[in-house]
Symmetry: C2
């Protein structure tokens, strides 16, 4: 998995199996590998300004090399080789996501799937979002089926939120069926917090939320953020850097942040906005939530977790770690599960969640 | 199939089967559909100047719509539906081909494979070149295995040349084994002839070569063309619009064509160059050739065929039509055959032809 946060690649090695009508998993390894700085820079640039088609092609291949290296490293760490894997699922790097384009949804993930299969010596599944988009869906979110299988409860109303570059929630009512699962993107996760940290502090993220904790709320910026239509729009909805990229943030800061304001206040306000937008989405569209399971890089931000708990006093806020899923491994584990399903020729989307006309078999398969 | 000539999409419907140790085919339908003018313009533009990643994504999806429409039209013409097809093979539109990049080969085909599978309701195989590139090959040419299966002779030395945007030859010595097949790109096929026709006559190609036939050889241009290193370089080699695009042609014309020269002379000289470069490659690198089977759009150019026959007096020059393969259907039929092989989990490249380390199973599979 490599997400819109562009922090690098997360690899998990996991086993999945069926046991008395329920799917089970066992996590065998987890490895995080940062993107080489120039690759990260070029990926950002390609999303912000015109580039040559040759550059797009090179990114497509260099990402695959990066994924291959990361899979090799993860396998090495647990003493196996990639050839021993039954299948690898690779999300690819989303460089475009436009589910509501005039002529039908459009999306693009880079990262060459057949090349990865050759370099790893095992089957690879990739391009998980296109089939759903082609059936009129948003191609996102795709984590909900995983959440349904592994996080639902017969006793409690549960919600899961992944705070990656963007934030997405899955709502799992007590004892729900797949058709009762609901999920959508709520807006930015860490993408704007990270952009501000990079701009003002030269860091890639706010460690444990200490910067945000030291700041104060900037009312004009806060009000402008709350006016962003996407956040309060009813689901289904999904988003990406097209909407919540650095250019949009730059415009907001220029318009609403007075000179001489401490940069901590900006990070504080953006962090509050992420917490509020997740909470407000749950309040408006989720019904009762007794337990909220947080994952993604944002789950390492202690201040953000506190804000979430303050916003949702009637809900137990916890991280996915308490379910045996390291917070940075959750999405990777989900796409491993989707690859497992593709090899079994099972569908992977939930139509009521993505808006697709039907459940479809997600992903293309390349053989070694 | 849609090739570098950007003339549109060729669809064939065919049956393949095994009969007494030999593969057989039956062509059931053939349909040619031109690209919508704006799509063609945007594809050319994306290869000549920087574009936004959103434009790349939109082309990726619009091409798939175009392919879906063309497959539907071909099926309709023979009274079947796409759902009745066992598999569709789609080459995609090559927008980048750089087999000798510093960090290993790089190539990019646009045309969304999973979307096509959803819209047609049948399995689709695409992205045929990546696996070979990933194994150090050129990812091209991929037609030779088809030529081997269906054009080889126990009695004659045969060569096949496809005159598409680029020109590629396959050499099939008498009674050869797959390991004895040789093939490579010889240089431009119609790409520069077509560019000159568009520039000077507002036509997309030279009908039957009448324009070229009316012109005379321009010596300075002719000598400059013969100096292009790619043409005489030894195989394996492959090329594309990166090398033989409109900007390169423009530079040559500006430097070597005096004012007041009739445009027919330019088209004549470019046509001679295509014939000479194919013939010269065969003379230098093919050994004896008793029969040359011509296909592709260039096979409709009577003057070009005559030039080829003049260049190769000891060889019988004929078109693939005489083998039951309409000249514009040949490449599409080849990729249909490669899709058939992928579904049977068979390899599709010839390592000695592409330069790959090994034979690999080409293509990714998307299910409806």
């Amino acid at each position: 998995m490599s997400g819109t946060s562009l922090d690098g690649v997360d690899v998990v090695v996991a086993e999945f199996w069926q046991e008395r009508r329920r799917r089970r998993f066992r996590l065998l390894g987890h490895h995080h590998e940062e993107f080489p700085p120039m690759l990260r820079y070029r990926l950002l640039r390609a999303q912000e300004e015109p580039v040559s088609i040759g550059e797009v092609a090179r990114l497509h291949w260099e990402l695959a090399r990066c994924y291959a290296d990361a899979v090799h490293a993860c396998c090495r760490s647990i003493g196996i080789t990639p050839q021993q894997l039954d299948v690898v699922g690779v999300h690819g790097q989303t460089v475009w996501h436009e589910p509501a384009a005039a002529e039908g949804g459009v999306g693009l993930q880079l990262g060459n799937v057949p090349a990865l299969a050759q370099w790893l010596g095992c089957p690879v599944v990739g391009d998980f979002r296109s089939a759903d988009l082609a059936q009129g869906g948003h191609g996102a979110p795709l984590v909900p089926l995983f959440d349904y299988e592994f996080l639902r409860s017969p006793h409690e109303h549960v919600a899961a939120v992944n705070l990656g570059g963007m934030a997405n929630v899955t709502v799992l009512p007590r004892g729900c069926s797949p058709a009762q699962v609901r999920a959508w993107d709520t807006g930015p996760g860490n993408v704007w917090i990270d952009a501000a940290m990079e701009q003002f502090f030269g860091l890639r993220y706010d460690p444990e939320g200490r910067t945000a904790r030291a700041g104060r709320l900037l009312m004009p910026l806060w009000r402008a953020l709350q006016d962003i239509e996407f956040v309060l729009a009813p689901p289904p909805k999904s988003t990406g850097r097209e909407q919540f990229g650095r250019p949009h943030l730059r415009a907001l800061l220029q318009q609403y942040v007075p000179a001489r304001v401490p940069a901590e206040d900006i990070v504080h306000t953006l962090t509050r906005f992420t917490a509020w937008s997740v909470a407000e989405n749950l309040r408006r569209y989720a019904g009762s939530v007794e337990r909220l399971i947080v994952s993604g890089g944002g789950a390492c931000n202690g201040f953000l977790l506190e804000l979430l708990q303050q916003e949702l006093p009637g809900t137990v806020v916890m991280t996915s770690q308490e379910y045996g899923i390291p917070v940075l491994a959750k999405e990777a584990l989900c796409f491993a599960y989707l690859a497992y399903r593709r090899m079994a020729q099972e569908t992977g989307n939930l139509p009521q969640v993505t808006g697709a006309r039907c459940a479809v078999r997600l992903g293309v398969v390349a053989l070694p």
